[in-house]
């Protein structure tokens, strides 16, 4: 049982991390709570399905196209919908909810409520330490590692990364220093959504594709980022594994309570918040005025 928990937690933790980090990034930089984050993830899954199964394009091209298009769309959405209301935090929030609903309803109209599946990139499975793991799950872990490295490189070693970090640190001063904060925010949105799209392409084949698939992971990643500390990438990464392990332990120790794994994970989040209100790695809010 021990190795089961170990491996299952690792695999799911990687999946969660991929989604949570993007969400955290955009909050950290632009203070945007992007409810539509997982809706972009869903969109990418649908696009791959369309390109591959309906248009008959080759796998790699479909994947690249899906990620590219969703990222582009996110920039358009940012320009059209988010930027005009940036000053009003609540308006941004509801705008992202509305966006998510628009995506959901559009997909429902086009594809109906039927469950579809996006194709596995590498089929098959193998045993690791006596636990059966599919290649798709291994691929996910690999992609997560690569993406994390890439994100780290981008943030720590490039000029854009510097700008993003500066903006995250102090938006007003960054603005005063002559940075185009709005453009930095847009690039951050693009990066964040690209992460979601990659997740959609890589992770969705493990799950089922349907117009409501954005809700369940949304709640999980919200729990993760709050647990890890909003805006902290390290926190999101560690939070993702905590939640994944909590879920795995629930399933393996109380089999008849598998359905509770979500509730247990959320309760853990509440407990952590009670002890550390700013999350594990969040910057303690000074009494903001």
């Amino acid at each position: 049982m021990f190795q089961d928990i170990l491996i299952t937690g690792l695999v799911n933790g990687g999946v969660y991390a991929l989604l949570a980090i993007g969400f955290s990034l955009i909050f950290g930089v632009a203070r945007i709570v992007n409810i539509a984050h997982t809706a972009f993830y869903m969109l990418a899954a649908y696009l791959v399905y369309t390109f591959l199964n309906i248009a008959g394009l080759p796998l790699l091209l479909s994947v690249v196209l899906a990620v590219g298009l969703v990222t582009l769309l996110s920039m358009v959405c940012y320009k059209l919908v988010i930027e005009p209301v940036r000053e009003y935090e609540s308006a941004v929030l509801i705008a992202t909810i509305a966006l998510a609903l628009i995506f959901q309803e559009t997909l429902l109209l086009i594809f109906g409520g039927t469950f579809l599946s996006s194709p596995t990139l590498i089929p098959g499975a193998r045993d690791i330490a006596g636990v059966r793991v599919s290649y798709q799950q291994l691929l996910t872990i690999g992609v997560v590692a690569l993406v994390l490295l890439g994100t780290w490189y981008l943030l720590a070693r490039t000029r854009l990364g510097l700008a993003i970090r500066a903006t995250a640190n102090d938006l007003e001063v960054a603005n005063l220093m002559g940075m185009n904060v709005s453009r930095v925010a847009m690039y951050t949105v693009a990066i964040s959504v690209a992460l979601a799209a990659i997740a959609g392409v890589v992770v969705a084949p493990l799950f089922v594709v349907d117009p409501l698939m954005w809700l369940a992971p949304l709640v999980t990643i919200l729990a993760i980022v709050v647990l890890g500390g909003l805006g902290s990438l390290k926190g999101s990464l560690i939070g993702a594994f905590i939640i994944a392990y909590v879920e795995a332990i629930t399933v393996f120790t109380v089999p008849a309570g598998s359905f509770l794994k979500g509730a247990v994970a959320l309760s853990i989040m509440i407990v952590v918040l009670l002890i550390r209100p700013e999350g594990l790695f969040g910057v303690a809010f000074e009494e903001e005025r």
Binding site: I35, V81, A91, I94, L222, V225, V226, E278
Partner: protein, 350 residues
């Protein structure tokens, strides 16, 4: 003698003239309330009644969200918790003990209030987005608990076969509309009272409020309790109206619904969310009247919300109110936009 008799009437008339009819926004509220009360004279169509009843219930629910989120700035993402607590609290009593809805609805509200305090305590330590995202979790945790005890809670079926307050649609209509008018007026009164002012102060600057000797924790808890109480009544009434309390009363979508109504209508107003509900709820239903549009209704709703926000980022009612009323520079009282001088202090406007 005659004077003593007519005095209250004259006083009420003066009040009406100076406090209500002098301001277009208040006049609209009056007309709206009268229109709702007189609607059955025009038509007692059960479907029309049902839509207004549902809108009334959700108006209470949305306004109660505003009382908490708009005024104290504790933006609750899990408001459905209180709605669901009211619904389940009331229907469990009705179902297991056969109590009349007249008793169970208030008890449901009390259950919700207790839930509000219980949730409010951990939330005292949280602020901003943390609070929002953490509150999202509470209804989901409760759903998990309800599913764990299906014999008690009915699992995914919920509690069904509840009794309605009245049998005839018109009676239920008046119950809902009067309840809505009374509770929303009460919430508006709270929001403009001293307590409301303190709520507002907490949102604007909690440290300053505390520095002024206000026990901000107590007031934040009070906001949770009050808001939960009103949402609980809405939930309990809802359960007895559609005669089932199920897990759908705790869904994320319902929590988001409150946020959408609140922000669309304009936060920290109380009347904003009510206006939003009375526009958006009948709108989605009206769309459903036309068969070819039925499948588009949620899409249309989302697009409308988005467009309105782009043009009125502070919400619908503040934007409208600024169009039809202007604030006196000197005494901060509101006036009709065409007045040249303030109705209170006679200062020249503009």
């Amino acid at each position: 003698m005659i004077n003593a008799l007519t005095y209250p009437i004259r006083r009420a008339y003066t009040q009406l003239r100076t406090e209500v009819l002098s301001l277009p926004s208040r006049t609209i509220v009056l007309v709206f309330a009268l229109a709702l009360l007189l609607l059955p004279l025009y038509s007692t169509d059960p479907y029309l009644m049902r839509i207004v009843i549902m809108a009334s219930i959700f108006a209470i629910y949305a306004a109660s969200w505003d009382l908490l989120a708009g005024f104290t700035g504790q933006v609750n993402f899990g408001h459905a918790l209180f709605f669901g607590l009211g619904a389940y609290g009331s229907s469990l009593l009705n179902h297991h003990f056969g109590l009349s809805p007249w008793i169970t609805i208030p008890i449901g509200a009390v259950v919700a209030t207790l839930g509000g305090v219980l949730v409010g305590i951990p939330c005292l330590r949280l602020r901003g987005s943390y609070l929002s995202l953490a509150t999202l979790a509470f209804p989901l945790i409760l759903t998990g608990i309800l599913f764990a005890f299906p014999d008690f809670s009915g699992g995914e079926l919920g509690i069904s076969g509840l009794r309605r307050l009245f049998v005839k649609p018109v009676h239920n209509y008046y119950a809902a509309v009067i309840l809505m008018l009374v509770l929303c007026f009460a919430m508006w009164k709270i929001s403009t009272s001293n307590t409301g002012l303190i709520f507002h102060a907490i949102r604007e600057d909690e440290v300053a409020a505390r520095a002024s000797g206000i026990n901000t924790k107590r007031y934040k808890l009070l906001a949770f309790a009050l808001s939960a109480f009103f949402a609980g009544i809405a939930g309990a009434f809802f359960a007895h109206f559609i005669r089932i309390a199920g897990p759908s009363t705790l869904e994320v979508a319902l929590s988001f619904q409150a946020v959408i109504w609140g922000i669309f209508g304009g936060v920290a107003t109380i009347y904003g969310p009510i206006v939003a509900v009375f526009i958006l709820y009948p709108l989605t239903e009206a769309v459903a009247v036309f068969p070819e549009l039925r499948e588009f209704r949620l899409l249309i709703l989302a697009v409308v919300v988005l467009l309105v926000l782009l043009f009125m980022p502070q919400g619908l009612t503040p934007w409208l109110r600024d169009k039809i009323e202007s604030i006196c520079q000197r005494c901060k009282n509101r006036n009709v936009f065409w007045r040249r001088e303030c109705r209170i202090c006679s200062t020249a406007m503009h």
